[in-house]
């Protein structure tokens, strides 16, 4: 219903305004409702300004900035209405070291209320996990799984 959407939109927007500067270490962002020229329900636009930069179209942002902005929105929605688990497939691929670190810190925080499953090639992200499964294909074309890490002490070896 329209009422419930407006309510959820407000909650998500407030959360998004907090999560963005946390992942970007500054800057501001918010969601805006924009009228549908075709007369349908209003759509949602993202306005984002990384720290120190001037506000401009979200399209001019870099690949990594766009990914981190999208992650901020996803995490904001997730914080308003958590789901039992969250699957993130190589979301950290375009991020630099500092951003990967902040992304993983937030995942760690949110995993108290839900399970997070992250697929990654990134060593930093691997070190931030509680348990690690390796998927191998020793026999070509056949996937097999191996449990790689089950406790913090094993992290150093991974």
């Amino acid at each position: 219903s329209k009422e419930r959407f407006k309510e959820t939109f407000q909650l998500v927007n407030d959360r998004f305004r907090e999560v963005f500067p946390r992942l970007f270490r500054g800057g501001t962002a918010e969601l805006q409702l924009v009228e549908d020229p075709a007369g349908g329900e209003p759509g949602v636009e993202i306005v984002a300004q990384p720290p120190g930069k001037k506000l401009a179209s979200v399209n001019l942002l870099s690949g990594g900035e766009k990914a981190l902005t999208a992650v901020s929105l996803i995490f904001a929605i997730f914080l308003i209405k958590p789901t039992p688990f969250c699957l993130l497939d190589e979301v950290d691929a375009p991020l630099d070291e500092a951003n990967v670190g902040r992304y993983n810190e937030m995942v760690r925080e949110m995993c108290r209320s839900s399970q997070f499953i992250v697929i990654t090639h990134n060593k930093q992200t691997m070190e931030a996990t509680d348990s690690l499964y390796g998927v191998t294909m020793e026999e070509p074309g056949i996937s097999k799984i191996v449990s790689v890490k089950l406790s913090p002490s094993a992290t150093a070896a991974a």
């Binding site: 959407f5 959820t8 690690l132």
Partner: protein, 168 residues
Amino acid sequence: MKLRRLEISGFKSFADRAVFSFDDGVTGIVGPNGCGKSNLVDAIRWAMGEQSAKHLRGRAMEDVIFSGSESRPATGMAEVSLTFQNDGRLVPPQYAGFAEITVARRLFRNGDSEYEINKTACRLLDITELFLGTGVGTRAYSIIEQGRIGLIVSAKPEDRRAIIEEAA
């Protein structure tokens, strides 16, 4: 509802049966290109009722059945089952009495399908309805597929609205 176990057999590159158990916290899945990591995401979506082969990178639903390798023939069936622990949160009333809820889906090469909740045969609709109530099945923000995170920024305003509506 907490995801505890994923069992996969004959689904895409998982020709042999494999079992994942998930503990609380953050679980990482790693491995070389093409080893089967994203196939696990497809398996989870499929078990929750995904009906579009395109959303599973296939052309027809049959594409999810292990089609063989140079050393192995194709299998005749794909099977995925998800086991959830009932932690009292977001559990649909009719399953409130169970300590665990297991959802299973099978597809045979002849096109037949089987669906089960806690070993009891059911329809696909029962599975999708189960998840609809829990917020687990909402693909839009709880499952971010490889390469798709950037789409949120380039999406049309109405598509972004749809993602937020999933949370409403």
